[in-house]
Amino acid sequence: MGNSELNTVGQSVRRKEDYRFLTGCGQYTDDVNPPHHTHAYFLRSPHAHANIRRIDTAKAKAAPGVVAVYTGADLTGVNGLPCGWLITGTDGQPMKEPPHPVLAQGKVRYVGDGFAMVIAETPAQAKDAAELIDVDYDAVPAVVNPVEALKAGAPQIHDGAPGNKCYTWALGDKAAVDAAFAKAAHVTQLDIVNNRLIPNAIEPRAAVASYSRADDGYTLYVTSQNPHVERLLMTAFVLGLPETKVRVIAPDVGGGFGSKIYLYPEETAMVWASKRVNRPIKWTAERSESFLADAHGRDHVTHAELALDPDGKFLAMRVHTTAAMGAYLSTFASCIPTILYATLLAGQYTTPAIYCEVTAAFTNTAPVDAYRGAGRPEATYVVERLVHAAASEMGIAQDEIRRRNFIREFPYQTPVALLYDTGGYDACLDEAMRIADVQGFAARKAEAAKRGKLRGLGYAAYIEACGLAPSNIAGTLGARAGLYEVGQVRVNPTGGVTVFTGSHSHGQGHETTFSQVVASRLGIPIENVEIVHGDTGRIPFGMGTYGSRSLAVGGTAIIKALDKVVAKGKKIAAHLLEAAEADIEFKDGKFTVAGTDRSKAFGEVALAAYVPHNYPLDKLEPGLDETAFYDPTNFTFPAGTHICEVEIDPDTGKVAIVNFSACDDFGNIINPMIVEGQVHGGVVQGIGQALLEQCVYDQESGQLLTGSYMDYALPRADDVPSFKVTTKVTPCTHNPLGAKGCGEAGAIGAPAALMNAVHDALSAAGVTYLDMPATPHRVWSALQAAKH
């Protein structure tokens, strides 16, 4: 990077995108209103599990304003929705992939399973008409818990998945682990439920599908984190359309957190129907539909064991997890509790032997897929709860047991497939302890005790793997997609730069961060850089945003494209300056002949490229527009320590977070303000999981009991305090930015830190185990039970 004032890397540049969001000029999918558009409404199953004997749509079709009514039977030639990751089980067999119909036919498998689509002139008319559809249901028993689903005699959800089992998969050396446990001085065991969560981006899912007779093409506006993947899956796998005939636009998207990665049934049915009705169709989910039919997260039941030597050194870890898939396999469901979970069980520690076995079960619930962190919060929760419990049982301080086991030499090959390139775990632990004022904790605890309150301190030393890669290795592990990213840098004749990125921002601030990267590299003002994302009609095939990959993978693709721009610029400048190409240096926006003051500004070179009057046309194409695809050679490994201090009122069971401190290592940072914001948001989602949020289905009826914001406790401003967050830096070794990713860290570290604090506080009262969320009722009940 150059050193001029135009180099803003590392500065908290205020966001370019904010003006439009703050003035109501953002354009979200529901703001798109093509002329003459219609409205869709999806009729969803009120039963968790039912055979549909008959559907009569005659009255609905005759209702006022109705344009069309479609059921699954009408969608001839339409395939089911595909799953993007093939897991091969311990038996050598591929996972079970039962059909995932766009509109359910013959059978509905969860409350919210859509089976009919009404298209009408207004939303109210569509909804009113849907009530006129006569459905003859034969309700059958349902099962919503993944452990129950695998038991003999459980209701069978799919014919093609006997015993409701999708797969059993394993990673690690079981024999070595068993041998280590046999000689362990101490074994810590925990049974852990990782609670099911509902993502709840504040913008509900929405879509606007249009068909044009002029070119036999379709345009889909949709709330998506990855429009190219959406288009590929929809056209090639489901609808059988040429990719060239479908343009997918994900405009401003109001939060994703994973839930908008997937190809969903609604927009697929709408694209199909838009040609039939020959009018645009719009649908925006009501919040109750979001609760029912967005892909949920987590939902693991785990038995975990840690073997230790007499000094508290970890010898081995053994983990058995049952993971819910829900009623159908969502786009990346299968890889979350496997590839993105078991591989993270080494954490920050030198545990030499780890074995993890995962059984995935179908349940009569909404599909489960990636939600912020996706497998990695579940892994961190297992590791850090085990470490906390082991330290407590063995009388070792929480920081000390972690220090005794930290990895300190890099690169480090874990026993669960990952190769950590770099890290500095002591530094983050030390700094987190400093800002959390751990030294003063004993006094604060004593003071709280005088007031009858229970104080606790909890640590989570987490690791995550971001920028899932490389594609060829992922392919051998079952990935059905590439994992690279694309960046195109189009220099305009007057020197302004338009950057097309396959990454997608739905709150992350790419327009600012990426502009900082580009402007600093080219030595031009940030205002001269425009970032374009989210439109398959404008951008080369990219993979979108998930797994904290945008800067490390998408940013690197842009850097690679910039390198090509600079390389070509040097050739042009050499010609203009009548110097050898090898003598041209590029710095601070100028191409200079080394050792001279002869130079050409970046803008002059750009103009020469597009007005090639004085130009080496015999050797060089005109224009300055370069594209790069970047496929990472490894994951990146952000890590850090989060420390939470809680105070519990034993009379009410209410847990108050009195302090939350985080020290994270995200590698090099472009915009500290944006990074801090990502941590704040992630931490509150983590606190939400640990303290407030839980998706509950009735075990008998399969009804969703937490179907609104009155029942599902999304964190509110007064549920959380302000946090102290800081960073340490060990740059990633294998991308030119040295960046690792920061989007999910908060949601990964916070649940374990908070629950360890709760356990620390409650241990004096004899409470030994509590699952998330630590609601007042649960905490109070546990305290009462411990008294008796």
């Binding site: 109501g24 504040i202 109001g254 009501e286 989602q685 914001y709 509110r716 401003a717 007064d718």
Partner: protein, 156 residues
């Protein structure tokens, strides 16, 4: 049943005929094409649809358009004057009090109402007053900071 409405929106007189069951938020979004007012939950809980009705923050999904007849309404589009952000908008930008931007219009308008009632609000008051506005991105910390800064700027 159609009813006639006469009201002021962002300092402009508006006269319209609407279906009596039209919610204020749908009137603002669909009839007036002011799409900065968002719908996040349609059950009155998320606050993304908050507008000012006669200076008071109101969730526009909780009242009918006809109930706003004769009122003076300010939506997010009406805050900035001549391209210059309102002090609260400017504070949200300066403090990174927004990420995806979807809850932001409601947050900003709630914040203005909050500051009118509590010009010197401390953090606890700001957090308590934000009960009716959900944000899933920011963790609220920078929203709270922005409101304190915006309040100071509004005090002048």
């Amino acid at each position: 049943m159609s009813v006639s409405l006469s009201l002021t929106v962002n300092d402009e007189a508006v006269n319209a005929q609407v279906d009596a069951r039209t919610l204020l938020v749908d009137f603002i979004r669909n009839n007036l094409a002011l799409t900065g007012t968002h719908v996040g939950c349609d059950t009155g809980q998320c606050g993304a649809c908050t507008v000012l009705v006669d200076g008071n923050a109101v969730k526009a999904c909780t009242i009918l358009a006809v109930q706003a007849n004769g009122s003076k309404i300010t939506t997010i589009e009406g805050l900035a004057k001549n391209g210059e952000l309102h002090p609260m908008q400017a504070a949200f930008k300066d403090c990174h009090g927004l990420q995806c931007g979807f809850c932001t219009p409601g947050m900003v308008l709630s914040a203005i109402d909050l500051v009118q009632r509590h010009p010197d609000a401390d953090e606890a008051t700001i957090r308590a007053e934000l009960e009716g506005n959900l944000c899933r991105c920011t963790g609220y910390q920078n929203i709270v900071k922005a409101i304190a800064q915006g309040a100071a700027a509004m005090r002048g």
